[in-house]
């Protein structure tokens, strides 16, 4: 429904079925003096899982909101499933699914009522709704719990129901904004299985996350940092820069203190915590040259195993951010 003064759709050729799912060029958004997204360019191919990575506040959500036509870019633009995000936001929104970390379910509605609501929002026919409902209940493992209040479901079920609601209209592209935030590891793994199933059916997935281990599920990645894309490519390509470097994983007590001490060393290019372990990047130096064990023992730390490890995406990210002159 539109009031007379709302802008109506202009008839124009769009929504081409082939080509990339997302094409973005010079996309920029500023809020006053703050540059949230600084003229980014990237493409997402149909059917791929595209990981959009970066720390909180780096511009991930702002980018998604522009791509969904929820906010207008300050300059630049792009197409999503062939539709222009600035000129045809309504078309864009009909053709995408969106799921955020808040899951966006109505807690005081039952499972069925939530499904029915989103079916109405996306204008499903009764037949289509019946079909999708059955599919989603099975997918989310909620068969027999249709009349339970959504608020009473535990988080893994809520997450899958939210995915079901976001995809009730079978979109060919789904934006997932930190979909696994605050979910336990088991539920996260199950969720990624569902995402892989969708990808195998040819659905394009645009996923933001700050869990680097999840990024390995993606076909291609883009790192966004302070509004700029600082790296883009397959996980292997992103890590390629580091394969010649020596990355050491150090088991040590009082990890944070040890990291602080190590970062003062000239031989250590980068260091950060990975769980309770300390990761250091020695660049082209070898482990022997650095003499890290002696250094740590001299400083009163209790040192366990020191292993040379393959660079992880997290190593790559720290490396990239360090090159940008910042801290991850």
């Amino acid at each position: 429904m539109q009031f007379p003064w709302t802008k109506t759709d202009r008839p124009r050729p769009s929504g081409v079925d082939d080509g990339d799912a997302i094409v973005v060029s010079g996309l920029r958004k500023t809020f006053g003096d703050f540059v949230a997204v600084d003229s980014v360019d990237f493409r997402v191919k149909r059917g791929e899982i595209f990981g959009f990575l970066g720390p909180n506040g780096s511009g991930k959500t702002t980018t998604i909101r522009m791509l969904c036509g929820v906010i207008a870019p300050t300059s630049g633009g792009g197409t999503v499933m062939g539709y222009d995000v600035v000129d045809e936001p309504e078309r864009v929104r009909e053709n995408i699914g969106y799921m955020s970390q808040k899951f966006s379910l109505f807690q005081d509605l039952t499972v069925d009522e939530n499904l029915r609501f989103y079916s109405g929002i996306y204008g499903l026919t009764p037949e289509k709704y019946a079909e999708r409902r059955a599919y989603i209940l099975r997918m989310a493992d909620l068969e027999g719990r249709e009349n339970e209040l959504t608020g009473n479901l535990s988080v893994g079920w809520k997450q899958r129901l939210a995915l079901g609601c976001a995809t009730i209209h079978e979109p060919k592209l789904i934006f997932l904004d930190e979909p696994t935030s605050g979910v336990d590891p088991t539920a996260r793994r199950q969720f990624w299985e569902l995402l892989n199933d969708l990808a195998n059916e040819g659905v394009t997935l645009f996923v933001t996350t700050h869990y680097m281990d999840e990024a390995t599920h993606c076909n291609r990645l883009a790192f966004i940092y302070r509004g700029n894309i600082i790296a883009e490519g397959t996980p292997q390509e992103v890590k390629a820069d580091l394969t010649a470097d020596t990355i050491l994983q150090i088991a040590v007590d009082r990890g944070e203190e040890a990291l602080a001490a190590l970062e003062g060393l000239e031989s250590v290019d980068e260091g950060y915590m990975q769980g309770s372990l300390v990761h250091v990047n020695l660049g082209r130096r070898t482990a022997e040259d650095a003499g890290l064990r002696e250094f740590l023992v001299d400083h009163g730390f209790e040192v366990g195993a020191i292993d040379r490890v393959e660079p992880t995406l997290e190593d790559a990210f720290v490396h990239l951010v360090t090159q940008q002159g910042g801290r991850a």
Binding site: M1, E90, K102, F106, L109, G120, Y122, A166
Partner: protein, 380 residues
Amino acid sequence: MGAAAKRVTAIARKEFIHITRDWRMIVAVLVLPLLQLLLFAYAISFDVRNVPSVTLDLDRTAASRSYLDSYSTSGFFDVQSAVPDYAGIDSAFDRSEARVAIVVQRGFGDALAAGGTGAVSVLIDGSEPNSAQLGQTYAVALNQSLGRRALASWAEARGLGTVRVGSVEPRIQDWYNPERRSADFLIPGLMIVIIMIVTVQQTAVTLVKERENGTLEQLLESPLTHSELIVGKMLPWALLGVMDTLLITAVSMGVFGIPLRGDVAVLAVGIGLFIVSALSLGLVISAVAPSLESANIAALLLSFLPGFMLSGMAFPLASIPVALQVVSYLFPARYMVEIARGVFLRGASWGVLGPQVLALAAYAVVALGIATLLNRRRRA
């Protein structure tokens, strides 16, 4: 059903489920208004009757006794006791036993018998100005009528025809509310204010809630448009507003005996426009408020205070400061109170209330437009 209609229905249905699932909401929407009506209608009464009083008879004649008796029988004064001296009056005022004291001075009976003026003092406890004012008015009126009677009986005793004494006596006749019951005056206004409070309050929080739960973001990423969202949100509340109106009207007529003299169609159209206006006002608050608490407070301030002060419900709008009169045009209640009173009490119809209905229609359109625009602007 078109896609747009489907989306509006989905929102309206969901909104309705929210309401029915929360018993506190049902209480707030259907029980509280009735409770408010009963409380306010009984509590806010401008009728002062049975003003507690004491008498002091310093004359102690037949004339003074009959004069004081007329107070007891008037219905306006509740004569608690006769005190022996002025000190008695003081202590009666102090203990709040009386607000008015009637003192008949020595020589009252003689003066009347001589055709002169009997001296009477009416002492009023000014610490409660409202009843004091009314007590004074009643006492003056009573004395005038007693005075005339005294004059007549004096003239008669002397064989003079009262007609020839001649005095002009205004015959005041009340129309529309012949018994001058303040309930008749208050309830049509009160009814509007209550409906305003319910509708503004409920819609003010509805969008803020969705924003805080993150569900609004989800809806923004869907094909749903802002106009659809707003219409869908309004529908169930409009329905409840109409239910409230019927309920309150039934109680007002059944319990308080408020007459319904005018054209019901005017009232129905007026109420419809008024509800849309009030809901839009709520949605404007919802668009601007940063949090649930601030939405609640803003809704309370913008519905309760103007409802009571600036609607003409309790105080005639002509008697409030000009600046506030201007402000009163910004709230829909003033138009609707006029319509309600016109239809209920004066039996008015389109011809008279047309301007008010038009004003309300204009208000509804503008408020709805602002609500839609403000909610759209939050996107950028």
